[in-house]
């Protein structure tokens, strides 16, 4: 057991899986000597050599397209996209190819690949360095979408992703890259993709969240003095609707929290499903605390944009009062 932050937990997971599986290769902008702009791949090129950990030209479509070819050729590439804002140029390769290759070739070609992407706001970064596009990819059949909220989860989920036979977008909430540490076993463990975690149990209301927002939710719960159940989705697709529905059937009330814009954010899917599955048990409309339907503002105003504990608190209170 080591006391690690999220960056270190990911680094450890990469090291351990690369040692086990020689087919894992890492590629991306500045991931080699520099260890990535967030230092997530620090030391890996030195350890595994330039053949397994290499810098690419500055072109995201190229990085993903090359990775798709590597995966079709039998490797498990782990491309890093430097910030989620630069997924844009790779959108077509991800959605038109990575997501479809198995289905369009009826399994003759597959794309086992783990795309690592720092995600989300709150770090005072320039434009296009603070977005949360997970819903876009959850709406694209053929992909799996993962977003851990703690070092322990980060390791277990990444190891699982690295063993997946299908493409996984592994979003790393950069706001909590170094925000806290926790005990992370050195020993091998995986967390199943598609299973949520109940962070704390409660009977008055359910909160569903994922990624860095889980922290704001915990703050709000602490403040509330109510018995609130917090479910961290951990994976956005496939998502653990059973866990959510079971909890809401018990509590009758639910708040969903995420950083992405409200409209068509993944919260809309969760809300719609809760209505479908818990209609008779619901005592209040599901409340969504989300980013606004605006471009993420430059950083002077980013804290006004991001859902914070106060907004979560307010939604909890309103939902309970209904």
């Amino acid at each position: 057991m080591a006391n690690l932050n999220l960056v270190q937990a990911i680094n450890l997971a990469l090291i351990q899986e690369m040692e086990k599986n020689p087919d894992i290769v890492l590629l991306g902008e500045d991931i080699g000597v520099n260890g990535g702009v967030f230092r997530v791949t620090e030391g890996l090129q030195k350890r595994f050599g330039e053949k397994r950990v290499f810098d690419t030209p500055l072109a995201e479509s190229g990085i993903i397209g090359l990775s798709i070819g590597l995966a079709m050729g039998g490797l498990h590439p782990v491309p890093e996209i430097q910030f989620e804002g630069f997924l844009g140029p790779a959108y077509d390769q991800i959605c038109s190819h990575a997501a479809r290759m198995r289905s369009r070739t009826r399994g003759a070609f597959t794309v086992p690949m783990t795309i690592r992407i720092p995600v989300g706001g709150g770090i005072h970064a320039p434009e296009l360095h603070s977005d949360s596009p997970e819903a876009i990819y959850a709406h694209t059949p053929g992909l799996k979408v993962v977003m851990p909220s703690s070092p322990y989860d980060a390791k277990g989920l990444l190891v699982a992703a690295l063993r997946e036979p299908d493409p996984v977008l592994y979003f790393e909430p950069k706001r909590i890259y170094r925000a806290f540490r926790e005990e992370v076993p050195e020993d091998e463990y995986t967390l199943p993709i598609g299973k949520a975690r109940t962070v704390c149990e409660g009977t008055d209301l359910t909160i569903v969240s994922w990624g860095a927002s889980v922290i704001q939710c915990m703050q709000a719960i602490e403040k509330s003095g109510k018995s609130i159940e917090l479910i961290d989705l951990r994976t956005i697709y496939p998502f653990d609707m059973d866990a959510v529905a079971e909890s809401v059937r018990k509590t009758g009330r639910c708040v969903v929290v995420h950083e992405a814009p409200l409209t068509c954010g993944f919260g809309s899917e969760i809300a719609a499903r809760i209505m479908e599955k818990c209609f008779l048990e619901l005592e209040a409309p599901v409340q969504r605390v989300a980013g606004f339907d605006t471009t993420m503002p430059y950083y002077k105003l980013e804290l006004d944009y991001l859902p914070d504990a106060n907004r979560v608190t307010r939604a909890i209170e309103d939902c309970l009062a209904y």
């Binding site: 690419t56 590597l70 390769q93 289905s103 070739t105 053929g142 598609g194």
Partner: protein, 385 residues
């Protein structure tokens, strides 16, 4: 010396057997053994005939949109002939002739255009990739496939084909740039057939050649007559030799012409002159080889007639196989999505519904449940009709 030379480049154009029947002995002699030449000719003829069959299938409603390859047989065939059978060949949709030479069953290609994914389930031993509809995207995969092979210690190279139009896509640039800078042995072949649907090639490149698109990356670049099987073979041989021995990419432009419509959904007479098409018909790659073979007494009308019969039978059999395959089942598109199908998709597949009450009729009052069951059964029966 304030003005110095930073870079110089020169691109050659290769032509061996021209449309008038002139044959360049220096480059052409011994290039293709006679026995091979006959087989290559037969392959081109067979591909051409299949094109006509496919056209008729489409017109009679037995096939969807189909892109004819007519006139371009010598491009991909020259490449396939030169490549090792285990080199990757990563193509678009106008390289049937090369794919068939590789051993791809004709029914696979037909099946694909009949709207069936099973046509894209390219068997691994042919080292070819599925048909690509999104243009310009496959060249990056060619680079990745080759890099993966090299990583595993195999000395494969890849050859990837794309059109004059597709070379305008950003991914084209990224693929060439990645291959050059990361030292991945890929031969990039731009098949310039002068048109991208109705768009003349000058709108896709105002430069004198498409071959020079490779200069950006410091690749050796060559242009050749793409309707000349000898030229495509010669040029590919040089490019493949260079790429295999250095581990570095190279670039080839094959100048050819699309004799048919863009696809069966297109009407080329809207945008190009008959005179232009006629001029190119005279440069047909198949006629050229036939005349050459006849002149060399390798071929005669009797052989031609026999071939025509054989091809017709073979292709009819391929059509029969493509049409004879059992219909796909709607469960297929669910089961093909992931190695292990998520539970939510299982429910969608098994109910063929997305609405929650359809997925879980137990939520309905008992009479309604019965009715829902009946409706589902009716729908299933209708679907099997």
């Amino acid at each position: 010396m304030p003005i110095t030379t930073a870079y110089e480049a020169k691109i050659e154009r290769i032509s061996i057997l021209d449309e008038k029947g002139n044959f360049d002995d220096k480059l052409g002699k011994g290039l293709i053994p006679d026995a091979d030449l006959v087989k290559l000719y037969e392959a081109m003829s067979s591909c051409r005939q299949l094109d006509q069959v496919a056209f008729r299938l489409q017109r009679s409603g037995r096939m969807g949109t189909y892109p004819q390859n007519m006139g371009q047989e010598a491009t991909s065939l020259g490449a396939a002939y030169v490549l090792r059978k285990d080199d990757w060949m990563v193509t678009c949709y106008r390289e049937n002739c090369g794919l068939f030479w590789r051993g791809v069953p004709k029914e696979a290609i037909l099946l694909h255009w009949m709207g069936d994914e099973r046509g894209n389930a390219m068997p691994k031993p042919h080292w070819v990739t599925p048909i690509y509809v999104p243009l310009g995207t496959q060249m990056l995969h060619a680079a990745g496939l080759t890099m993966a092979a090299r990583y595993k210690g195999e000395d494969k190279i890849a050859c990837t084909f794309f059109g004059d139009g597709a070379s305008s896509e950003g991914d084209f640039h990224e693929a060439c740039n990645f291959a050059s800078n990361l030292k991945i042995p890929v031969v990039f072949v731009c098949q310039n057939n002068f048109w991208a649907i109705s768009t003349p090639s000058k709108i896709n490149s105002a430069a004198p050649t498409f071959a020079q698109r490779g200069l950006s990356y410091g690749m050796p670049c060559t242009q050749c007559d793409g309707n000349d099987l000898f030229a495509t073979t010669y040029t590919m041989k040089k490019a493949v030799e260079y790429t295999r021995s250095t581990g570095l990419p190279s670039f080839v432009e094959m100048v050819t012409y699309r004799l048919g419509d863009h696809t069966t959904a297109d009407d080329a007479s809207r945008y190009r002159d008959k005179a232009e098409v006629d001029a190119w018909k005279a440069r047909d790659p198949i006629i050229r080889v036939r005349e050459y073979m006849k002149a060399r007494k390798l071929w005669d009308d009797a052989k031609e007639a026999a071939l025509a019969t054989r091809i017709e039978e073979e292709n009819a059999a391929a059509v029969a196989r493509a049409e004879g395959i059992e219909s796909p089942h709607r469960a297929d598109f669910f089961d093909a999505m992931y190695a292990e199908i998520p539970q939510d998709l299982v429910v969608q597949r098994d109910t063929m519904q997305t609405h929650s009450l359809g997925q879980d009729p137990s939520q309905l009052p008992p009479e309604a449940q019965e009715r829902a069951r009946q409706m589902a059964a009716d729908a299933a029966a209708a679907a099997h009709h």
